[in-house]
Symmetry: C2
Subunit: 451 residues, 2 copies
């Protein structure tokens, strides 16, 4: 940057919904120079990540290079890098592999959350969560390998375990994952397998609280539960998982044999926010001021699902994409206000509504705190429309629309790639042992002519 | 398989062009049971793999699950597994992780080739080749990381090295890769970077022989060379690489500093064919009988680019997709002839033509041994048409067509995902050291107001 010295450098950590919207809100200000740092080179549309995990969409459909998204905004520079530490007393951050600190005048912290296993980190190996493209690829691989293994499994009980899928957590991610599995398994995959009876597939959704979709009005929760059960999903509420192993899930006294457990139950803030050296809540989120700034430090703002913000009505702002969007914009606005000599304003979350889809044609939607509710077809179309509208990039919108149309019309799933299996999990897995049983030496049966 | 005992079991190793076409040619024969084994779950359309490596297409655009492709063919069972050994005396194969051998009455061996570094296996680390989806993702990541690093590199020489791309091998893969890089780097990426002068990008194509595209008529080779040079590619023929390191490529006395070398120079047959225990040629290919069977063993056929087959005119059948298609069908036909008590027939390769594209609007095409030649626009349209026509799956055809249209119209590249960089190569790479030089502590410059 050889141009005239900028007035203020705003560093943004994270190119998710919060970070990206903060950067955009700082456009057109020549007195601001923005540096956006992310561990990956892409913005990820997380609400559709479960569709990558379930072979409906490709990773490239729901991602866009951050620097491409911001290419027209000349006051933004994008850096691929991992921030390891925030050093507020020097107003700088430390990037892995960088000998020098990176200075900021204002800092927007939006690194997002990871899954939380409530202290049972050993469960992650058997119950992956869904936050990144890599997570989605890993889950997709698990789904597909479970079928590949089941096709060759001789033992009835082992095959049953392979075709049992357990989802832990009844929020939108868990519900949407559970809703898409039955059709995928029983319809899309059926013609491809010779020995599996795809009606044997069992999908179990476990929720610790009294109902699924707790953020929705109770009536919609019940509707979603009924829709899932009609699809054949076994929904169990008030059910706490007590152990997860390679062999299955323990729920109280019961043990459910399965090799496919998916974790959609808990989030914990990125450990980076610990280096802010301020009080955190139980999930590791930063207890910010009403204007989203750090207590006692008006130069640092925290946005997205790592921020714990109380609304005037006493409720916490939920960790969802629209809230992150709004916080990002708000924090940027408060920085601009400070630069203009004005005082910053408290954040107000506007809940545009909640949406969750349950398989084909079915969804639930709640607007204005549940005053306006939709179910079934209408909610499903709303869901489709909203997700296409908020996707980043024209190419992604077209691509997702076409993939959906294809999946819808042909009852097929297009993205069923398993990679990196050559010498990994597949053959070492105990479930695959002896699966070629009926293929062994039968040379004596042969009547075919020789050469 | 509880049905009536089949007459003959044909085992096919490999779901590439050869294996897939062999399986298809065995359809409608109730007396044949087919078992197809592949290390991956997908058929890969290798001729377009370079477009995945160069961010034009997504992996899912050019792959299709093998069991999906063969879903209607009820006499085929597909197995995901790695064959480690062929035991001809027992008429069986060994699969990794399987305690029991898998029996065959007839065997079609089509495992394909990997890159060959002519004894310099250490080069692979710095000069990846392009055979699998993983390879393409790895190369794509290299391309994209080179730009990410260059954007932050302070040192002129280091930046120049980061923006130098060397392709070793002037066959169709090397030429097509070289042809697509200039536009991608200088046009598609330009608006996204702040500090890189994308006109600094240098693409060098190295060919050991006297001309690129040696399979084409000489006139077309010259044309392709001129087209590449017009795009700004430096084409060097009669040039042997003598060393490849982390810092660059040695060519005789000269050292070209670069961190991006791509290997498109040599192939070697899958080591699996060694277990056939028959004579191999220098590239490890099996010297088969004219009917594609193994010398002295009419129950084993070898097809695709692992088979060394001499045509009646003394030339070898080339290791290209159409040849693999034809061989797969032919081997299957010969098996059916044997089952019907007829004798097998010698394979005749029908060369439908050779095609290679060089960037936008440009390609070379040769038909009937060069008697019919096309260049420029016509060849380019032919290339597009042929590649779409031969892609497996309706969904893939539509998706590739749309991606191409998008890339063509918007001069953009849609698939620019870097994954798994979090704590890997990026920050450990020496080229990234000190790249935030201009960002270090400048707190004293700051005039922005505090909180």
């Amino acid at each position: 940057m050889n141009a005239a010295k900028p007035k203020a450098r705003v560093v943004i950590i994270g190119g998710g919904f919060g970070g990206l919207n903060a950067a955009r809100a700082l456009a057109k200000r020549r007195d601001v120079e923005v540096l956006l740092i992310d561990r990956t080179n892409h913005h990820l549309f997380q609400p559709l990540l479960y569709q990558v995990a379930t072979t409906s969409l490709a990773p490239s459909d729901i991602t866009a290079p951050i620097r491409w998204v911001l290419r027209e905004q000349k006051n933004v520079t994008t850096l691929l890098g991992t921030v390891e530490k925030i050093e507020r007393r020097n107003r700088s951050i430390r990037v892995v592999g960088e000998p020098e600190p990176v200075h900021y005048d204002y800092l927007i912290v939006a690194p997002g959350t990871r899954h939380s296993y409530f202290g049972n980190d050993g469960w992650e190996r058997w119950a992956p969560g869904l936050k990144s493209v890599e997570d989605a690829r890993r889950i997709r691989k698990r789904f597909l390998l479970a079928f590949e293994r089941a096709e060759w499994e001789e033992d009835e009980a082992a095959r049953k375990a392979l075709l049992t899928f357990v989802i832990v957590g009844g929020g939108p991610t868990g519900v949407e994952l559970a809703g898409v599995l039955p059709e995928m398994c029983r319809v899309a995959f059926r013609p491809d397998f010779r020995r599996i009876d795809t009606s044997m597939v069992k999908v179990i959704l476990l929720e610790g609280g009294p109902r699924i979709l707790p953020a929705f009005p109770e009536r919609l929760s019940q509707r979603a539960c009924r829709d899932l059960e009609r699809l054949g999903v076994e929904v169990r509420v008030n059910t706490m998982v007590t152990d997860i192993t390679e062999q299955g899930v323990r729920v109280g006294e019961e043990f459910i044999p399965t090799q496919s457990v998916f974790w959609a139950a808990g989030n914990a803030a990125s450990p980076l926010v610990k280096t802010l050296d301020v009080p955190l809540d139980r999930s590791g989120r930063v207890l910010v001021e009403p204007d989203l700034s750090l207590p006692g430090d008006g130069r640092v703002f925290v946005v997205g699902d790592v921020a714990a913000v109380k609304q005037p009505d006493g409720r916490w702002v939920p960790g969802v994409a629209p809230a992150a969007n709004q916080m990002g914009k708000w924090a940027a606005g408060n920085i601009l206000r400070q630069l203009d000599g004005e005082s910053s304003r408290p954040f107000r979350y506007f809940n545009k509504g909640d949406l969750a889809t349950i398989g084909r044609h079915k969804a639930v939607a709640s607007f204005f705190d549940g005053k306006l509710q939709f179910r079934g077809y209408i909610a499903w179309f709303l869901w489709l429309f909203v997700h296409i509208a908020y996707l980043v990039g024209f190419r992604n919108r077209i691509s997702v629309l076409l993939q959906w149309a294809y999946n819808y019309i042909f009852f097929e799933r297009g993205v069923r790639l398993i990679t990196e299996t050559e010498d990994a999990s597949m053959s070492r897995h105990p479930a695959t042992q002896g699966r070629t049983g009926e293929y062994h030496a039968r040379a004596s049966d042969s009547v075919a002519g020789g050469g």
